[in-house]
């Protein structure tokens, strides 16, 4: 009898240890097989939100469903349109009741490799970011608690949450996890530029390669913020936010990263966005002030505003700043850089069936 008791205690202990390791016992068949694209780093998926087929599928439905908004008129896809590489072609998004903000919607591309979210970095995880627009009165004008209650009552969604997260009693945390799982699998890696790693300069036309050389040398300096050889062409790990001279000292007070950190040295520093699919993601910058790539090039060439936090990659060229107000690119050089930027367009991405609206038949 004593032996059985000891064995029982041992088995119970083993079960408790196993239980502690796994929050929701995932079905091995439900594991989402995320394939890291060639030449990309491995993603770091949070241990408390591993990718599952059911989670990704649910997240995709939520992403396209206006149920997330107060009056069921706005979905994530309203402002993150796949035709625009999950950005928006308007300067400012229109929220519930016609409300508009003063920030341009960021593209959703390769977020699995990114660290902080929103232009000012106020979300430190993709799960947190996913809930932001729901609670923003200028966007979905809802509360994540209300949405959780709506989804718990939904005959469509309650069983899907049960399948993905083990409970039909939906919580805001589960909503964030589902949406972020879908966002995490949105990957662009089939542009012309992606052939560069295999065949180097042969991937490009002469004009594109000339632009590539401006981008990746000290003539253009672009690589210092947007990654060197950079398969991701987004920010570097430890320099996510940069001041690129969009604002004057007076204009930048409290804007950008300083909104979060409250440090004046972070005034006017915004998240460096990915350049992938940039041809499709205009208008550009945090406030969508530039409608075209040509305007963007003109800005970097001659429109930089000097301020106290201007990035070193600009202040290290005082002569260029003084003479040109920027990089001083010729019109031919600007065209070459634009030609290179267009090699980042990935139509396989925008046509990927796995990213499309699941409610459209």
């Amino acid at each position: 009898m004593k032996k059985f008791a000891v064995i029982g205690i041992l088995l119970l202990s083993a079960m408790l240890i196993m239980q502690a390791c796994v929050e929701h016992t995932a079905n091995p068949d439900d594991t989402y097989d995320f394939q890291t694209p060639p030449y990309f780093p491995k993603i770091v998926s949070p241990t408390n939100n591993p990718l599952t087929k059911s989670g990704v599928s649910l997240g995709r439905m939520l992403f396209y469903d206006p149920i997330l908004s107060q009056d069921s008129t706005i979905s994530c896809s309203s402002c993150h349109n796949i035709a625009n590489a999950f950005a928006e072609d308007k300067r400012y998004s229109v929220g519930v009741g016609g409300a508009t903000g003063d920030i341009n919607a960021m593209a959703i591309i390769n977020l699995a490799w990114q660290q902080k979210f929103f232009w000012n970095g106020r979300a430190t995880s993709l799960e947190e970011q996913a809930l932001g627009p729901i609670n923003n009165p200028l966007e979905m004008h809802e509360t994540s608690e209300n949405v959780a209650a709506k989804l718990s009552r939904s005959k469509r969604y309650a069983p899907l949450f049960k399948q993905a997260f083990g409970s039909a009693n939906v919580t805001p945390e589960m909503i964030g996890k589902a949406i972020s799982q879908f966002e995490r699998i949105i990957v662009s890696n089939q542009s012309t530029y992606d052939k560069f790693y295999e065949i180097q300069e042969q991937a490009f036309t002469a004009e594109e390669y000339a632009g590539f050389r401006i981008f990746f040398t000290e003539r253009g300096q672009c690589f210092h913020c947007h990654g060197a050889n950079g398969t991701l062409l987004a920010h570097n790990l430890d320099t996510i936010f940069r001041n690129n001279g969009l604002l004057t000292d007076q204009e930048m007070i409290g804007k950008g990263l300083s909104f979060v950190t409250k440090k004046t040295t972070d005034d006017g520093k915004f998240k460096v966005p990915t350049l992938r699919n940039i041809e499709l993601t205009g208008p550009y910058m945090h406030d969508g002030r530039f409608a075209t790539l040509a305007e963007l090039m003109d800005f970097y060439s001659s429109g930089i505003k000097q301020n106290a936090n201007l990035d070193i990659n600009f202040t290290k060229s005082p002569e260029r700043l003084e003479q040109y107000g920027g990089l001083g690119l010729t019109s031919i050089e600007k065209q070459q850089v634009i030609a290179f930027l267009k090699t980042l367009t990935d139509t396989a991405f925008t046509h990927n069936p796995a990213y499309q609206n699941p409610f459209k038949k």
Partner: protein, 243 residues
């Protein structure tokens, strides 16, 4: 009997994780402590100019990262312990002015010399991805268009130029053969113990070695300027001191 066997198996499985490799018995933690001359280095976010070079440049350091590789311990009998490592030293990480690297499983013995390479050794300073493909290394990539590989060092900040304007500088070193070796005499006996040494990294020496660096001489676009990189390579030999 079966129960006793079960307990023995459980005990063995628990201690199995903590058993040491009997063939390797010591460790050495190398602390890289950054200074400007003999004072603790401050890496600033602001444009305050807190340092002065021997050539009179008032400047600061806002960003500093560099690689060391091939850390090796030598014994008098010619034996050496080479871990074939690469480590990115990033004093900005966690707001500390030091970083460390631990050599584990060092065979017992008396070691009389330590050496390491500044930069990424040529075998790994390649395109694409001579180093593990991760965010840390990717942010140090040296563009293919400029030869590929990795930045050996990024040191950036602002200084007061000859017009009294506060402007940026960017000392970026890379490209084989701009690596260089550092070696120091060592008095280290490894005998089943864990030890540590301190490597002082005096940033002033980058500007005040055999070459006196004046930031007004154009240290803003040096990735394509091998002559300027060579000046820093020559100065770099005096940057590290074993304390």
């Amino acid at each position: 009997m079966k129960l006793q066997l079960l307990f023995v198996l459980m005990f063995l499985s628990l201690i199995g994780c903590t058993w040491k490799n009997q063939d390797s018995n010591g460790s050495l933690k190398v602390n890289f402590v950054h200074t400007f001359q003999d004072t603790t280095l401050q890496i600033l976010e602001s444009n305050q100019l807190i340092y002065t070079t021997t050539t009179g440049n008032k400047f600061n350091i806002k960003n500093l990262k560099y690689y060391i590789s091939k850390l090796t311990l030598y014994q008098n009998n010619g034996a050496k312990y080479d871990v074939n490592m690469v480590k990115l030293i990033n004093p900005m990480e966690q707001n500390t002015n030091y970083q460390n690297y631990t050599l584990a499983n060092i065979p017992n013995g008396k070691y009389t010399k330590i050496s390491f390479m500044f930069g990424v050794d040529s075998a790994r300073n390649t395109f694409p991805f001579g180093l593990p493909n991760n965010s840390e290394n990717n942010s140090m990539e040296w563009p293919f268009a400029l030869g590929g590989g990795y930045h050996f060092m990024m040191m950036e900040g602002v200084f007061q130029n000859s017009k009294n304007d506060t402007v940026g500088y960017a000392i970026h070193l890379g490209v084989t053969p701009n690596q260089f070796y550092n070696e120091f005499p060592l008095y280290l006996t490894v005998n089943d113990n864990d030890q540590s040494i301190t490597m002082q990294v005096n940033m002033e020496q980058w500007f005040n070695g055999i070459n006196k660096i004046n930031l007004n001489d154009g240290y803003n676009y040096m990735m394509e300027d091998q002559k300027k990189q060579l000046l820093f390579k020559q100065n770099g030999v005096g940057v590290f001191t074993l304390k």
